[in-house]
């Protein structure tokens, strides 16, 4: 019976993952999600169908161009009363002028009215521009005389797909970190409260246990963000199908996607190591002031995103190497500017070193915290533990 580090880490990782990953529930939630999307799609199609059938009787004095969604028939002013009578049966609306106002006469308010009013206004605007001899392009030039483009030394031209990917990475990171926050409490603090830890620690070292936890929680985070990404993808595809627009394809280089994935996974591992350390020092999540510290991971994401417009600024450069923020700052910089590969590798190396140190710290804090039932360690005790002074 050899107690092998990796064998035990794998056992803890698998246990943590399986504890919270219920594949039947996962499949059910995917099924429900799909049904919702299909429902939305059918609903949207139903509305579109209804839109196609909208019949509008318009007074002869008003001229409207052809439109695919609105079927227009014209009527003379003296037939207004009978046309009004037919609204709700043969016609969906009657349009005429009275007291210098355009009247849209309907049986009841409906969703299509907004797009109908917009179309009416656009038609009238276009008609008047034509009468004034101004084309649509001329009007656009009047409203937007210059098409500005800002070029900053060292920054590349905006790549919308990369910006979107970076934004998506930030959203997914937030999803992952919220998941990490929840699981760190459930998996570490609650387990400590349930007195499970002494039994487990008699089988393996605190470091092995902590590493297994960190890997297990990270896998759960990845599962959560993959679910989110997949849901978003399916949603956009369904919406695209409904709108009749082309299906979205990923137009990014594989190397860029891989770099994003590396920062995303390392960022999760790094913050999970830190959160695990915090969780190990919390005795009761309901009464601990340290709970607020668990919200810290959101800060670097907001910080990096708020500085997205200045990817080459000194602050952003520092943030892209500083291990607590680099996982968010570097992907943003990579989307906005051309970053030399050595800078990316340096940032990854610092992040890896930080993960190594934080997981060590987490296990030391845990080793101390596990012996403290009913109270939380003070700053001095935590410092002693971090410096590996023997716990008393």
């Amino acid at each position: 019976m050899i107690n092998n580090y990796w064998q035990q880490v794998t056992a803890v990782t698998a246990w943590e993952f399986k504890r919270f990953f219920k594949w039947k529930q996962e499949l059910m939630s995917y099924g429900v999600m799909l049904m919702i999307f299909v429902g939305i799609s059918i609903w949207q199609n139903h509305i579109a169908d209804n839109d196609n059938r909208i019949k509008v009787a318009v007074s002869e004095e008003i001229k409207l161009p052809e439109h695919s969604r609105f079927s227009v028939t014209y009527f003379p002013a003296d037939q207004l009363a009978s046309v009004q009578q037919s609204v709700g049966d043969e016609q969906d609306a009657a349009v005429y002028t009275a007291d210098n106002k355009l009247v849209i006469f309907v049986e009841e308010k409906d969703k299509w009215l907004e797009s109908f009013k917009r179309w009416m206004s656009e038609s009238a605007q276009s008609e008047r521009l034509k009468l004034a001899g101004i084309s649509g392009e001329d009007l656009n030039l009047i409203i937007n005389p210059y098409n500005y483009q800002l070029k900053v030394k060292g920054e590349k031209a905006k790549d919308d797909s990369k910006n979107t990917a970076a934004l998506l990475t930030m959203i997914l990171l937030m999803v992952g970190l919220v998941t990490a926050f929840a699981y760190a409490f459930t998996s570490i603090t609650t387990e400590k409260q349930q007195r499970v830890t002494e039994q487990l620690l008699s089988t393996m070292s605190a470091q092995t246990w902590m590493d297994g936890k960190i890997f297990g929680i990270t896998l759960l985070c990845i599962k959560s963000l993959l679910t989110t990404a997949l849901s978003m993808f399916i949603f956009y595809q369904v919406m695209a199908i409904v709108d009749g627009s082309p299906v979205t394809t990923v137009g990014l280089e594989v190397s860029y996607i891989l770099q994003l994935v590396v920062f995303l996974v390392l960022g999760l591992l790094m913050w999970n190591s830190l959160l695990a350390g915090f969780a190990a020092t919390i005795d009761d999540p309901n009464h601990s002031s340290r709970t607020m510290l668990m919200l810290l991971p959101a800060v670097p994401i907001f910080l990096a995103y708020s500085l997205a417009d200045a990817p080459q600024s000194m602050t952003m450069q520092v943030l892209s190497y500083f291990p607590l923020t680099s996982f968010a700052a570097m992907p943003i910089r990579m989307a906005e500017a051309t970053i030399p590969i050595w800078q990316i590798l340096l940032s990854i190396s610092i992040l890896l070193a930080a993960i190594y140190v934080f997981r060590k710290a987490a296990s030391r804090l845990f080793n101390m915290g596990v012996m403290m039932y009913g109270k939380e360690p003070g700053m001095k005790e935590m410092l002693d533990a971090l410096l590996n002074r023997k716990f008393k």
Binding site: Q7, Q194, T197, S202
Partner: protein, 312 residues
Amino acid sequence: MQIKLTNIVKNYATVTAGNKASFAVGDGEIVALLGPNGAGKSSLVRMLVGFTFPDSGEIEISDGEQVTNTIPKHQLGYLPEDRGLFLDRSLYENLMYLAKLRGLSSQVADEKIDYWLHRFDLTDRAKEPLKSLSKGNQQKIQLISSVLHEPKIAILDEPFSGLDPINQEIVVSIIKEFQEKGMTVLLSAHQMNLVERLADRVVLMNLGEIIAQGSLAEIRQQLTEGEKLIVRFNGAIDEAKLAALSTVAGYEQTSNYEYYFTTTAGHSLNQVINEIKDLAEILDIRSEHLGLHDLYLEAIKKANDNQQEQTA
């Protein structure tokens, strides 16, 4: 495997958990660590397991070849004082997880889980979540999880707590089986009648100090000054003569012609009888050995009295 603790000192902020504590557990021996709550038993156990360390003193764990200062994890079976397993997971999942952490293959673990669940009559409930079991049955699962891998040393903190008398008997027989297989067992318990039957030796602790240790007979000798005799005479005796006897340290009349004697240490039973038979005709004479329960109370009382004297 052998355990040896020498002069262990361990102080917490306001509590002394170890005050030059020394004792040993021999290979294949069952030793009971006894003492009131807060005596320092669990602290010593946690030092052996490697959760905490002594301020001074030495812990030696030896398998005949290597000496370490904590019990190697793969050779340890530990039933902690603070119980806890994963309540929302099934009995089987809990046991399989701990078996894997202890390095057992799935197949071996499966066989052992089957064996132990059958032994405790829990086979039919293997797939049920642990929280659906009674406290006593949860306690059984906890015990199984500690010894599933057949360790060389078992440290069992309160192995009988929460068990009914029938299951207590099962656990007693299981611990004896462990011993037959050569396992070294250190246990802590408050069920003195069970400890008395089970332990080869007893270590009594109070306020971090070891106040007595040895076999039950040795402890009795250490803690009592002489034999306790209950003697019934056929008539009244002269108490003045009784008080003058050299072999009797103290006496108490328990009924009309019945007396409870404490003999003076160093005298044999024959010498005592020779003296008291002259007082009156002896109808009945019984020697009373103090059981572990009384010895324990006696020892703790003495230790506390000494402590108070020293403080005064």
